[in-house]
C-alpha cells in the first residue's frame, strides 16, 4: 500500500511551510480598500524575521497580501511581475485590475494544488479600478471568493466576528483604520505568531500607499491579572 501511494521516484508531495507569515485583514471602505498585516516571519515557533513586508503593490490598481510560506509568496510576486510586464508591453492603454489578478492567481494556485505541489499561501487581493472596489481571497488549495471584508489564518477566527459585527458600507478612512487596528490588537493578544509591528495599506482610485511600520498600544494591566489568585487561596 505504501509504495502505491509514493511511487514515481521523487514525486513532490505535500510540503511543509518553513518561514511563515500570520494573518492578513482586508476591508472595503468608502473610498477604496484597506489592508493590514504585521511584519513577522516565524520560523516554526521562533519569530525569526521582524521586517517582512507582506503587503505588495501589483500593477497600477492592486495590492496583494500574503500569509503562509514567505518563499512561496516571493515566487508569486515573480509570477505577478512577469504578468504585469507582459501587460505593459502591449502598451495599449489597458492595465490589469484586481479582478484579473485575482483570477490569474486562482488559476496558478489551483493548478499547483492539482499537482500536489501547492504554493503554501493564503492571499488577499484588493484594489480599485474605474471606481469599482474589489477585494478577493485565494487559498493554497484554490478556494477563491470576494467579499466586503476578509481575513486569513488566525484572523478567520479572531477578526471575522468583529468585522461581521462592525463593518459598514460607508466607513471613513479613520474609522476603517480603527477597525483594522482593533482586529490586529486582538490578534496580537491571542495569536502566538503575531508581532507588534504592522503596516496598513490604502488603495483608492487615485493610487496606493503602504504606511510606515508602527506598533499598537496594548494593555496588560488589568488588576485581576496582577494578583490572580488573591481571593482564592489554594488555586493557580
Amino acid at each position: 500500500m505504501d509504495t502505491l501511494l509514493s511511487s514515481e521516484g521523487d514525486s513532490q508531495r505535500t510540503q511543509y511551510p518553513y518561514v511563515t507569515g500570520t494573518s492578513i485583514i482586508g476591508i472595503k471602505y468608502k473610498d477604496g480598500i484597506l489592508m493590514a498585516a504585521d511584519m513577522g516571519g516565524s520560523y516554526g515557533s521562533t519569530i525569526r524575521y521582524k521586517s517582512v513586508e507582506r503587503l505588495k503593490q501589483v500593477g497600477k490598481h492592486s495590492l496583494i497580501g500574503a500569509s503562509g510560506e514567505i518563499s512561496d509568496f516571493q515566487e508569486i510576486l515573480k509570477y505577478l511581475d512577469e504578468l504585469i510586464l507582459h501587460d505593459n508591453m502591449w502598451d495599449d492603454g489597458n492595465s490589469l485590475g484586481p479582478k484579473e489578478v485575482h483570477n490569474y492567481l486562482t488559476r496558478v494556485m489551483y493548478n499547483r494544488r492539482n499537482k500536489f505541489d501547492p504554493l503554501w499561501n493564503s492571499l488577499v487581493i484588493g484594489g480599485v479600478k474605474n471606481g469599482q472596489k474589489y477585494l478577493g481571497s485565494v487559498s493554497m488549495i484554490g478556494v477563491h471568493y470576494e467579499d466586503d471584508h476578509l481575513a486569513t489564518g488566525f484572523g478567520n477566527h479572531l477578526a471575522r466576528p468583529i468585522l461581521r459585527e462592525e463593518w459598514r458600507e460607508d466607513l471613513s478612512f479613520e474609522e476603517g483604520v480603527k477597525l483594522l487596528e482593533k482586529c490586529m490588537r486582538n490578534l496580537l493578544y491571542r495569536d502566538r505568531s503575531a508581532v507588534n509591528k504592522l503596516q496598513i495599506a490604502k488603495i483608492t482610485e487615485e493610487g496606493l500607499t503602504v504606511s510606515q511600520p508602527y506598533s499598537l498600544k496594548t494593555f496588560w494591566n488589568f488588576a485581576a491579572f496582577q494578583n490572580p489568585t488573591v481571593g482564592a487561596t489554594g488555586s493557580w
Partner: protein
Amino acid sequence: MLTKKGLKPPGYLKTGTTIVGVVCKDCVVLGADTRATAGSIVADKNCEKIHNMAPNILCCGAGTAADTEAVTDNISSQLKLHRYHTGRESRVVTALTLLKSHLFRYQGHVSAALVLGGVDVTGPHLHTIYPHGSTDTLPFATMGSGSLAAMAIFESEYREGLTRDEGVNLVTKAICSGIFNDLGSGSNVDICVIEKGKTEYLRNHLTPNPRTYISSKGYTFSKKTEVLHTKITPLKELVDVVQVGGDAMEE
C-alpha cells in the same frame, strides 16, 4: 507510523460549544450556547450547559456531554455533603480543587472543559478547568470551539468594574459571536448571574434563532373545488339476526 506520512494527531478536542464567564463588580456572569452536536448533526437544539454545583456556584461545561454532566453532578454531591459537614456555604476554590483533582486523576480521558464561577465569602471568582486538570483564574474566560470568536469580543470590549447589566450584555454579545461565527455552536443564549446571596438563572435569555413559518395560518388553497353530486353510503348497517333453528352458537 501514520505520523511519518504527515498525519498530525488531534490536539485537544474543542467540541461544539461556546461557554464564557466574566467577573463584574461583586458578581459573576456565566453564559453558554444551547447546541449539542453528535458529529455534524445537531442532536439537541436547546440543551442546558450551565450546571449547578452549589446554590452560589455554577459551572458551564464543554466537551463530551456525558463527562461534563457526570463530573459536575459528582462534585456537586460532594460539595453538598461537605456543606452538611461544615455547616458553611461552599467556596469556589473547594469546587475547583475537587474538579481538578478528579480530572487529573483521569489523565485527560474525562473530556470536560469547564468554566466555573461563583460568589462566596471571599468574593466573586471565575476559573477555567481543562480536561487534563490544569486551571486558570481569570477576569474573563471562554472555552469550547467558539472560544476564539467569543474571546475576540472580550478582548476588544472588556473593561474593569463592569456593572451587572453591562456584564450580561457583554456575555450575550460574546455568546452570539460564537453562535453565528462557529458551526459547533448555535441556537439560544443561556445566562446565569451570581451575586452575593442571589443566583439568577436566565434560561434562553436570548433566542436569536427562532423557528419561523412562512404563513401563520399554514397553507390555504386559493380555489374552492365545486361540488357536483353528493352520495352518502353508511358504513354501518343495522341488521336483524334471525334465529332459524337449533342453538344460537351452533355452526
